[in-house]
């Protein structure tokens, strides 16, 4: 509960600072006088949300990013596993991938325009390429880092290639794969917004750029806030899914910076907290003993 309060507080403090700087028209080298205030942005936001374009933009951007990201997830995991498990695939695909990897996905806009008949497909292509490499690289690493004894165990049970893939490689690489997916979803947002700014019709990025060209600064900020919230929601979704699927990972009981759990305050307030720690440790021990 207290942690949520802190999180809300951090957002509120940032907004308060913004409001203070802009409403006071602070001009200390950084110039806030041209900046819209929080209330301007909020008013613009309310107007946009009640209009039809906002939701079209939102669903367009979401469709593009989800399509591109899901494609990237599937292709990235498949290619990563292939490259990590097969020397032939590594030799054939490795050099090509390593040459393409340093090219920023957004620099592929000309390629997308040449390749695809519609802008829509081009944007999905750029988004997909952006997320593909983080997923590929982290999948490759985590597949290579798998404990060999897991695979040997399945082989001595008579398991073949596909069994090893399904029962050892994919589940074992999952923690690493989700690391790549988390990075990938972030990069995807960057690229989908940039691509929309360059060549989109509808979409949050397109709208934000349009607002900028007609000097509607509150509108620009509405776009930025929307991108921020959407990005946060999607990366949280990826994070939660990852945590759910990798629950089997052993975790330390120690949480850095964690406060001891609250005990009943009506009993003596002072010794309650220290007493709770050895008590908790004891019950942990009791459980461990029971396991032996």
């Amino acid at each position: 509960m207290r942690r949520y309060a802190l999180r809300v507080l951090s957002l509120v403090a940032a907004l308060g600072l913004w409001q203070a700087l802009t409403s006071l028209n602070v001009d200390l080298w950084l110039r806030f006088s041209q900046f819209p205030t929080v209330t301007d942005v909020a008013r613009a936001f309310a107007a946009r949300v009640s209009g039809p374009d906002y939701w079209t933009d939102l669903t367009d951007s979401l469709t593009r990013i989800l399509t591109g990201f899901l494609l990237a997830a599937v292709l990235g995991v498949a290619t990563g596993v292939l490259v990590a498990r097969s020397r032939l695939a590594e030799d054939l695909l490795g050099p090509v991938l390593e040459v393409i990897r340093p090219i920023p996905a957004i620099a592929l806009v000309p390629v997308a325009i040449l390749l695809f008949p519609s802008n829509e497909q081009g944007i999905v292509f750029i988004t997909c390429t952006a997320a593909f490499f983080p997923v590929l690289v982290s999948t490759r690493h985590s597949v290579r880092a798998l404990t060999p004894v897991w695979e040997e165990a399945v082989r001595t049970m008579g398991g073949g290639r596909w069994r090893i893939l399904g029962s050892v490689v994919l589940p074992g690489a999952l923690p690493g794969v989700f690391g790549g997916l988390s990075v990938g979803i972030g990069v995807s947002w960057i690229c989908v917004i940039s691509a929309e700014m360059i060549s989109g019709q509808y979409g949050v990025g397109y709208r934000t750029w349009q607002d900028y060209t007609v000097v509607d600064y509150p509108g620009v900020f509405v776009g930025m806030v929307t991108i921020g919230v959407l990005g946060w929601l999607t990366s949280t979704a990826v994070e939660l899914l990852g945590r759910r699927l990798t629950r089997w990972l052993p975790r330390t009981a120690y949480v850095p910076g964690a406060r001891p759990p609250r005990t009943n305050r009506s009993v003596k307030p002072a010794p309650a907290a220290p007493a709770a720690v050895p008590g908790g440790a004891r019950s942990e021990e009791a459980r461990d003993e029971h396991l032996v």
């Binding site: 040997e152 165990a153 001595t156 008579g158 074992g172 052993p250």
Partner: protein, 273 residues
Amino acid sequence: MSTSSETVPNTPPGAAPDTSPETASGAAPVRGTRLSLSGASLGRPGATALDKVDLDIAPGEILTVVGPSGCGKSTLLRTLAGLLPPLAGEIAQDGHPLTGPSADRALVFQEDALLPWRTLRANVELPLAIRGVPRAERREQAQAWLERVGLGSQARQLPHRVSGGQRQRVQLARALAGRPRAVLMDEPFGALDAQTRAGMQDLLVEVLQGTGATVVFVTHDVDEALFLGDRVALLGAGGLVAVRDIPRPRERGAHDDPARVALRRDVLTSLGT
């Protein structure tokens, strides 16, 4: 030794009654397999661990293997499991050369080889799933095996939630659940304390009863080797030194039998040099 698993008179009541019906393996009873090495050189290319090994392991026999650490005990087991091809010579199962790993020869690892994302029961189910046993049946069999090693109530725990000794018991259950004809054990109790170890040895003797499986058991503990084995193979200095018969195997009271004491002294002497 090689009793079929249907005729298990001495399993304790409630222990794995449903592992007996013959399903996937057809009508033939599960029996031990003969493993033989002739003139075999084992190891990795460029690093031969054991040279010119001639060894014949009879069906249903428990052969223990002792030797100083680094002498190639694990190499021998991995080769028998089919994970490591021999550098020279021949390795055969029932007269046919080994080509690779097979469900016929289960390997119990020294280290923790359970899949950490599977519950204990799901780990034991794995060899059954590979053999194509239907879901309901493999769940039942896995549960029965876990009960047999005393972990029935923890079937739904993840491996990291139970102790090292319990994980090794699950590994044993997993190896036997696939009804292999040979069980290869690589210092399975090496990391356990003396007390847990003795308990595990008794458990092993008990669960092996009636499976008829051939067992090759690698250990660095001479007393463990002499308790469990019908014969003991001594490894050392790049090869097989000797194979000796063990008097009164698997009798706890036999440790002061004069023949056993003499054998123990011999084994220790040969390991000491």
